[in-house]
Amino acid sequence: MNDAKIIGPHARALHWFAVLTAIATFLLLGVGGLVTSHEAGMSVPDWPTSFGYNMYALPIKFWRGGVFYEHTHRLFASVIGCMTIILAVWLWLKDPRKWMKWLGVSAVLVVSSQGVVGGLRVVLSEDQLGIVHGVIAQIFFILMAAVALFTSGFWKRIAEGPKINVPGSLRTLVLATTILIFVQLVIGATMRHQHAGLSINTFPSAYGKLWPDTSSDAIARYNANRMEITNINPITAFQVILQMVHRIVALAIFILVAICAAQAWRNLGKGDALTKLAVGWLTMIVAQIGLGAATIWTNKAADVATAHVLVGALSLVTGALWCLIAFGRTVRVPAAQTETFGALGSFAGNK
């Protein structure tokens, strides 16, 4: 089926609802991020009830301290769940593309699993599930952004418009960079759920060095001199090394995204949407590095750390959308034929 025939009378409303759901998902990432930044993940000790109450009937007197963040996060998550179900039903009924119907179903499955994982994290008091919960959130955000893209007029124009060859090397580079950003987010989620605060509290140096001393004596010295108010677990050599890996991967991401932007500029021209998106992506990465530094300089202030989470999520989604758009526009023609026929042919995903 040609994507050009996907549009029905309610397409615009469907698209804007998908956009609204994606934006709401992004905000939920922030609310969820605040829960971890405020160490409030276990402040409501039960699930799916809240202090024995139905979640929607929790008296206001309980909405204090960490409970405020955890409880509002649960309420907001239930709203996103409802919006996802509405979107999935809408897609099933109105979108003629079979794969879009199933994408909507997938979104419901992912958001449902996210809710269960979050609940089990509390019920089982399992920090590792907090990491899984954070990672699923990122995947779900990509999914929602993709649905918003696929229901857009922009995607329709990609389907109907002339094919523009996005070089395979550039597509591969962006895909690989996006995967690296995902890995970085997993590292970041692992760091945040150690509940040990900043394993290295200086930047750009690491305890005054390029690579910190991680001997047992050094770790003991770091712990002896740490004066944490929250995040009270002692730091370990593993956590110090993990933060160093996080820093190195951040540098690698910056270099790769810069190369992506330069390659897009050279191959697609400065006016191309993908070039603009790549430049925006680079700006985002620069901001993200600044937020990472600020997280350390502010001793992991909750709002700064949460902003770091959010920009990280945006960076991941930007790379994912770039890949989807690039693959959607690209002609899959063997190199020899490309020289002869130019940008002709069809993209298999349009069927």
Binding site: G65, M227, I229, T230
Partner: protein, 237 residues
């Protein structure tokens, strides 16, 4: 006559056994300059907890007197080989210990009890707390809400553990560390740096001094029929 002789003999034997238990006393000192305690700003920013104070309370990682007297050091006994003493708990018959939540802080912050001994947790604050324990030794984890003025919570734990963490997730700056021993041979140094481990049976022991941030030090002693003094010096580098 026989009854009198039996009673007399029992009394002699009892008096004899008591006379062989001695105390281990000592003083803990800190040298070097510990990092400055930090103000607990989130506490003051809390709408319920902040009004409880005129000035911002600080952390208490290092309880140090003006002459270096070092408090909140957990002192305990192991056997001569450095192995934990087990199976000697009298916790079931020992009075409960109180851990209070007052001023949105745990009091005391460092305490020690025996396995099987009751720990009473009280909420003396005008706000909700949750009592969340995290064990690395297999003790049952708890996460219980406690309303303002609500009933005390009572816990017992059955596995020895150093510095088991108690925290309130509603107020993320609230922490206490409870150490669990399988014997009554332990003490916590006071603000004067002094400690006393009472009624230690004769024998050779390893005395262990543990500070949550500065780690562990050990010394070996032999207890006979007189009190023994063991001093420790911790250093901040």
């Amino acid at each position: 006559m026989k009854v009198f002789s039996l009673a007399f003999l029992t009394g002699v034997l009892t008096a004899t056994s008591i006379s062989y238990a001695a105390d281990i006393t000592g003083t803990i000192t800190l040298t070097g300059t510990p990092p400055a305690e930090v103000p607990i700003d989130p506490l003051m920013q809390d709408s319920t907890c902040g009004p409880l104070y005129d000035t911002t309370p600080t952390t208490h990682f290092y309880v140090v007197g003006k002459n270096g007297e070092f408090g909140d050091v957990v002192v305990s006994l192991k056997d001569a080989g450095g192995n934990a003493i087990t199976g000697k708990s009298t916790g079931a018959s020992t009075p409960a210990v109180l851990l209070d939540q007052k001023g949105c802080l745990y009091t005391p912050q460092i305490l020690a009890i025996q396995t099987g001994q009751k720990l009473t947790v009280r909420n003396s604050d005008p706000c909700i707390h949750n009592v969340h324990t995290t064990s690395k030794a297999g003790n049952t984890e708890h996460n219980d809400v406690q309303m303002s003025g609500g009933p005390d919570l009572t816990y017992t734990f059955d596995k020895p553990e150093m510095f088991m963490k108690f925290q309130c997730d509603v107020h993320p700056w609230m922490f206490a560390w409870v150490t669990l021993f399988d014997s009554p041979y332990y003490a916590i140094s006071g603000t004067d740096g002094k400690f006393v481990i009472k009624n230690v049976p004769p024998g050779k022991y390893t005395v262990v001094a543990d500070h949550r941030k500065l780690g562990e030090q050990t010394q070996t002693v032999e207890v006979a029929d007189k009190d023994v003094t063991v001093n420790f010096t911790f250093t901040v580098k």
